[in-house]
């Protein structure tokens, strides 16, 4: 019974947009897009507390059982509450008091942004050591990939472009070669991948829409 209901709802959910797509514009079905969009948006928005609840569950237990590193969990929960408060105050207090703006700026501009972008920028270093340790000519494939990578790299830095433009005739410099690689070789390969992915996602949509998914997980979860 439950399963039937699920299958039915999935089908209905898909059917609306499928029909909207198939029907000609004259049918005027487009007018229904706006209200439908608004309602679905609100409904999906209601999930907004799930992440918080899960996080509080997880770290709450860590704190209560004072697991090693529980102070991190404390910091996490505190940061969460403070940030949420700042956002709320900034939104509801009009005109926003100076201290709220300052504290919000402090949390967002001076803590969240630097931490986030710095963690991301660690990648620059990992890239260097990966190039040194991991990027090995183990096979012809690797050799090909590596040489292409080097050409592309030289073709995108000003020194490389300037130098190659001095040596090679106009229109045959490294930048042009890079663009040629990008425009034909890369674009074509990417399009091949794209076609594969597109057909794949179409198949996936069919399976979901008609509830054809089976198998240990697919049965239980989709």
């Amino acid at each position: 019974m439950r399963k039937k209901l699920l299958i039915f709802l999935t089908f209905i959910g898909g059917l609306y947009y499928f029909v909207e797509w198939v029907m000609p514009a004259e049918s005027g079905i487009e007018k229904t897009l706006t209200p439908f969009g608004q309602v679905t948006l609100v409904i999906s928005g209601f999930a907004f507390l799930l992440g918080v609840i899960n996080l509080v569950r997880l770290h709450g237990t860590r704190i209560l059982k004072t697991r090693p590193g529980y102070y991190n969990s404390v910091a996490l929960i505190t940061a969460m509450i403070v940030m949420a408060l700042a956002e709320l105050l900034r939104f509801y207090l009009t005109p926003t008091p100076h201290w709220v703006d300052k504290s919000y700026e402090f949390l967002f501009v001076n803590m969240r942004v630097p931490i986030d972008s710095t963690i991301f920028s660690l990648l620059a270093f990992y890239m260097a050591s990966a190039a040194y340790r991991a990027f090995r000519i183990k096979s012809l494939e690797a050799a090909l990939m590596m040489s292409i990578a080097v050409i592309v790299m030289l073709g995108q830095i000003t020194v490389g472009i300037w130098f190659s433009d001095m040596i090679f005739p106009a229109g045959y410099g490294l930048q042009d070669f890079r663009e040629w690689l990008m425009k034909y070789w890369n674009a074509a390969a990417q399009r091949g991948i794209l076609f594969g992915a597109v057909v794949g996602s179409l198949a996936l949509s069919m399976r979901i829409w008609l509830s054809l998914e089976r198998g240990s997980f697919f049965d239980r979860e989709v």
Partner: protein, 293 residues
């Protein structure tokens, strides 16, 4: 027993590598070398498109505007900030009005900061030269509704004024009145605009993306679904070069040079050692086989 050289050059401590990265990126901040630059094809196309809009606006009373879809977060601000800054600079220079919106919360906020900074120098005013819808979370159904009717989905801008009362919006009845979608992102998502908006309205879409997703965009550039692209920091630098503005992109290009060379050096070093080691091992094996016979 002493390590052979090929093992030694393979066993440089990663911390030394990290240190050199720090140094090579730092140096160009203090030693400035100006090198010639020329825009890549996608960047030039984007520039020309914006120029087109500007020329159209000069003649007509109903100004066309650019829609900034800012889907970037602080983590990729290194690339997306300069791109956005260059585009905003261009818009202010050729007074093209623009609209800011984002599906990532931080994008519109940071873009607003940039716009305010640049506006001071150009004497532009919020509301008359640009408007910021702010962070508007949307799922696809909502996005389709948005395409059908902007005003149904968005009621207020970040200042809390109903967007119908914002001067910029006087020329924008629907999304069709937007002449260019400029989508800046560090994580893709421009497809939504290509797939659902462009076929409806025929609006041109351009993207400013982090260098890593640059290659993924080339099929769209080839098919014309994307009219132009700024590819990473170098894309931003090329664009700044075209509009004659020195921003983060141009300043970064010096460091890019040395950093790239260091990466290449690391690749070569690692592999030279690796290949020699392999050669030695092979010879060793052969010798043993000989001895075996």
């Amino acid at each position: 027993m002493k390590k052979p050289w090929y093992e030694w050059i393979q066993s440089i401590d990663r911390r030394i590598i990290y240190l050199v990265v720090f140094v090579v990126v730092s140096l160009p901040f203090f030693i400035k070398i100006k090198l010639p630059m020329r825009p890549s094809e996608p960047t030039e196309n984007l520039y020309n498109k914006v120029e087109q809009i500007a020329d159209y606006n000069k003649t007509s009373t109903k100004k066309k505007c650019i829609f900034f879809q800012m889907d970037w977060t602080p983590s990729v601000q290194a690339e997306c900030w300069p791109q956005t800054e260059a585009m905003i600079e261009h818009c202010f220079m050729r007074d093209i009005p623009f609209i800011i919106m984002g599906w990532a919360p931080e994008g519109p906020m940071l873009t607003q900061t940039i716009a305010e900074k640049r506006a001071k120098e150009h004497g532009k005013k919020y509301g008359e030269d640009w408007v910021n819808f702010g962070y508007k979370p949307m799922n696809l159904p909502a996005f389709l509704a948005f395409i059908k009717d902007v005003y149904s989905q968005i009621n207020q801008d970040t200042e809390g004024t109903p967007i119908r009362n914002v001067p910029v919006m006087q020329n924008v009845e629907s999304i069709r009145d937007v002449d260019l979608i400029f989508h800046v992102t560090g994580s893709g998502g421009v497809e939504a605009w290509i797939q659902y908006l462009q076929p409806e309205t025929g609006t041109d879409v351009a993207t400013g993306c982090t260098a890593i997703i640059g290659p993924e965009m080339y099929p769209y550039l080839d098919s014309g679904q994307l009219i132009g692209m700024m590819e990473g920091l170098s894309g931003a630098a090329q664009y700044e070069h075209q509009i004659g503005y020195i921003g983060k992109g141009t300043r970064g290009s010096g460091s890019q040079n040395l950093a790239h060379f260091w990466i290449i050096a690391m690749m070569v070093l690692g592999n030279v050692g690796y290949l020699f080691q392999r050669k030695q091992e092979r010879e060793e094996k052969q010798r043993l086989e000989m001895a075996g016979e």
